[in-house]
C-alpha cells in the first residue's frame, strides 16, 4: 500500500469514531437515535478527505499516519465538546476548518523547500517573542498572561510562538552545533560549551526565565525551555549541556517561586489539593485540581459512558471548571475511563514516534532539528497539561493539542503538523531514492 492509500484507509476509523461518539451523545441527550450523527461523521470525513487530497497532490511521500492520528484526536475533541456544549462544538468545527486552511496554505507555500524558513530566522524569532509579550497588554487570566484580545477574537500567542521559536533554534543550532562541541572544555568531569557560544545559550535561558516572570506561566516556559534543551541535545550529543540547562532552570524557577505569589499558590494547590482551606479559597485555590481528580476517579476502568460525566449540578456553577479547555482530559477519563485516557495518550505517543522517526530520516541538519524541535514541543505540551490535570506537576493552563477548545491552538498545531509533513515528505522521498 502506498503512503497516501494507507492514510486514506486510516481516515475511515477516524470517521467511524466520530459517528459512534456523536451517536452515543445523541442517545444520552434525546433518548432517540438520530441520523444526524451519521451526517456529522460524513462531514468530518469529507473535510479530512479534502486535506488528504491536498497531501496526495503536494506531498505524496509524507508520513501516512500523522494526519490520520491527528484526525482521531480532533474527533475526540469534537465529540467531547459537543457533549459539553453544542455551541462550543460548532465553533470548534469552524476552527477545525480554519486550521485545515492554514495547514493547506503552509504546505502550498513551502512545498518546494521548507528550508527557505532559515532565511527569515531572525524575523521569525522576533515575531515569536513579540507574540509572547502581547498578552502582557491585556489583563491576566487566573494570574497568568496567556491570551490576547483583538476585537472579538481572543487568541493565545504562545501557541504560534512555540513554532516560531523552534524554527529559529533549529536554524541557529544547525550553524553553531559544530562550534559548540569543538571548543568545549571539560571541567570537573562536565563538558562546558565554549564561553563565546555560551552567550546565545544563556540568552535563551534568560528569555525562558523572563517569560516565566512576565507571563507568569510555568507551563509554557517549561515547554519552550524543554524544547530548547531537546534541540541542544540532538544537535550536540552532549548530555552535560542538558543537565546544565536543567539545573539553571530549576534555579530560576526556585527564585521566581519565592518572589511571585501566583506561582507559589499554584504549587501549594498541587501539593495539598484536599486541604480544606485551599479548597475553599476563592482565588488561586486548589478547587480545580481537586475536582479534576474526583472527575477522573469517577471514570473507573471503562468509564461512565458518553454524556454521563457529572460536569455541573443543575444550573449552578460547574463542578469541573474549564472542562472544555484545560480539563478536557479529565472529562475524557470520566466518560471513557482508563481505557479511553490511555488510548488518547497512545495516540499522542504514536504521533511523537512518527515525529522523531521523521527527524531520523531527515537528511539535512535543519530538517532534522526542525522535526525534533516541533515533536519535542508538542510532547512537552501534552506532558504539561496532562501532568497538571493528573496532579503530577503543578497545573498550568496550556491546551491539549488538537482536542481542547481553542482557535489559536488548533490553527497553530495544524501549522506544526504541516511543517512535520513537509520535512517527512522530503526525507522519505530521499530515503527511497
Amino acid at each position: 500500500m502506498s503512503a497516501r492509500n494507507r492514510e486514506l484507509f486510516a481516515l475511515i476509523p477516524a470517521s467511524l469514531l466520530l459517528t459512534a461518539g456523536f451517536a452515543a451523545v445523541f442517545i444520552q441527550r434525546d433518548e432517540l437515535l438520530s441520523d444526524l450523527s451519521l451526517t456529522y461523521g460524513l462531514i468530518f470525513l469529507a473535510l479530512c478527505l479534502a486535506a488528504h487530497l491536498v497531501l496526495r497532490m503536494t506531498l505524496p511521500d509524507a508520513d501516512p499516519y500523522l494526519f490520520a492520528l491527528v484526525a482521531v484526536l480532533a474527533c475526540f475533541g469534537l465529540v467531547v465538546l459537543y457533549r459539553l456544549d453544542e455551541q462550543l462544538a460548532r465553533d470548534q468545527a469552524k476552527w477545525f476548518v480554519v486550521g485545515l486552511l492554514f495547514f493547506t496554505a503552509t504546505i502550498l507555500a513551502l512545498r518546494h523547500d521548507h528550508r527557505v524558513l532559515e532565511r527569515y530566522r531572525y524575523v521569525i524569532a522576533l515575531g515569536g517573542i513579540v507574540l509572547l509579550l502581547l498578552p502582557r497588554l491585556g489583563s491576566p487570566t487566573n494570574g497568568a498572561y496567556l491570551s490576547f484580545s483583538l476585537g472579538p477574537i481572543s487568541f493565545q500567542p504562545a501557541e504560534l510562538a512555540k513554532i516560531a521559536i523552534v524554527i529559529f533554534l533549529a536554524s541557529y543550532l544547525r550553524d553553531t552545533r559544530q562550534v559548540l562541541v569543538v571548543g568545549a572544555r571539560r571541567f570537573a568531569g562536565i563538558t562546558f560549551p565554549p564561553l563565546k557560544h555560551l552567550g546565545p545559550l544563556l540568552a535563551v535561558w534568560g528569555t525562558a526565565m523572563g517569560l516565566l516572570f512576565v507571563i507568569q506561566d510555568l507551563g509554557s516556559s517549561l515547554m519552550f525551555f524543554g524544547g530548547f534543551l531537546a534541540l541542544v541535545y540532538v544537535a550536540t550529543n552532549r548530555i552535560s549541556f542538558v543537565l546544565i540547562g536543567l539545573a539553571l532552570f530549576a534555579l530560576g524557577a526556585r527564585v521566581l517561586y519565592a518572589i511571585r505569589p501566583t506561582i507559589e499558590s499554584r504549587v501549594d494547590a498541587w501539593l495539598h489539593p484536599f486541604d480544606p482551606e485551599l479548597y475553599n479559597q476563592e482565588i488561586g485555590g486548589s478547587y480545580q485540581v481537586a475536582q479534576s481528580i474526583f472527575t477522573q476517579a469517577d471514570g473507573g476502568f471503562f468509564g461512565q459512558g458518553f454524556g454521563q460525566a457529572l460536569i455541573r449540578l443543575g444550573n449552578e456553577t460547574p463542578l469541573l471548571p474549564a472542562a472544555h479547555t484545560d480539563f478536557i482530559y479529565a472529562v475524557i477519563t470520566d466518560e471513557l475511563g482508563l481505557m479511553g485516557a490511555v488510548a488518547v495518550l497512545l495516540v499522542y505517543l504514536l504521533i511523537i514516534e512518527r515525529g522523531f522517526k521523521t527527524a531520523m530520516l531527515a537528511t539535512d541538519s535543519f530538517s532534522k532539528l526542525l522535526a525534533t524541535g516541533l515533536t519535542a514541543v508538542l510532547a512537552l505540551q501534552v506532558f504539561v497539561i496532562v501532568g497538571g490535570v493528573t496532579k503530577l506537576i503543578p497545573l498550568t493552563g496550556v491546551t491539549l493539542p488538537f482536542i481542547s477548545y481553542g482557535g489559536s491552538s488548533i490553527v497553530a498545531n495544524f501549522i506544526l503538523l504541516a511543517l512535520l509533513l513537509l520535512v517527512s515528505d522530503r526525507a522519505r522521498r530521499e530515503a527511497v531514492a
Binding site: 461518539g21 569543538v182 459512558g305 504514536l350 522517526k357
Partner: protein
C-alpha cells in the same frame, strides 16, 4: 430502552480506537525494524562527527569508492567519515545550501565552489564564497583544472581529488 445501545456504542468506540492504534503501531514497528536490520545497504559505516549527528543526506550521494570515475574523497569533513567519496564525473556544486555536496561547515557559503567537466578534465572554481576555496593550500583565484591527489579545502572541510 436505549441504555444497552449507549453502552454498546461506548465499547464499539473503544474497540475501533484500539484496533486503529494496533494497526498504526504494527506498521510503525515494522518501519523501525526495517531500519534496524538490513534494508537498503548503507554505504560506508554511517559517519559520526563530533556531535554524533551524521548527515545522511550525503550518504545518498556517496558510493563505496570502488569505481574509477573521478571522485572527491573525504579527508576530513565535519559530519562525514574519512574515506567516503562523491562521484563527480558529471560535475557538482559544493556548499552549505541545497547543492550536490552538502557541507555542514559554518565557514562554507551556501554555494561555495563548483566542479565542471570540460572534455576530459574537471575544473574547479570558487563561486564568490566568503571564506574562499583552497586548492593544495593555495587560495583559488579563477578556475583551475584538477589533478589526481589535489587537496581541496573549504572552511574546515578537506577533500582529495582522485581519478
Amino acid at each position: 430502552m436505549l441504555e444497552p445501545v449507549s453502552v454498546g456504542l461506548k465499547f464499539a468506540f473503544l474497540a475501533v480506537l484500539y484496533l486503529f492504534l494496533l494497526w498504526v503501531s504494527r506498521s510503525a514497528l515494522k518501519d523501525l525494524r526495517r531500519d534496524a536490520f538490513g534494508g537498503a545497504p548503507r554505504a560506508p559505516v554511517a559517519a559520526q562527527d563530533e556531535t554524533g549527528m551524521h548527515s545522511a543526506a550525503s550518504l545518498g550521494a556517496l558510493d563505496g569508492g570502488a569505481q574509477v570515475s573521478p571522485r572527491l574523497v573525504v579527508s576530513s569533513v565535519p559530519g562525514l567519515a574519512r574515506g567516503m567519496s562523491y562521484d563527480v564525473a558529471q560535475g557538482a556544486v559544493l556548499g552549505r545550501g541545497d547543492v550536490e555536496i552538502q557541507l555542514e561547515d559554518p565557514f562554507a557559503s551556501s554555494q561555495h565552489a563548483r566542479l565542471t567537466r570540460q572534455g576530459a578534465i574537471l575544473v574547479i572554481e570558487d563561486l564568490g564564497s566568503t571564506n574562499g576555496t583552497y586548492l593544495n593550500d593555495e587560495l583559488l583565484r579563477g578556475p583551475q583544472p584538477l589533478h589526481p591527489g589535489d587537496r581541496i579545502r573549504i572552511g574546515d572541510s578537506t577533500f582529495t581529488y582522485e581519478d
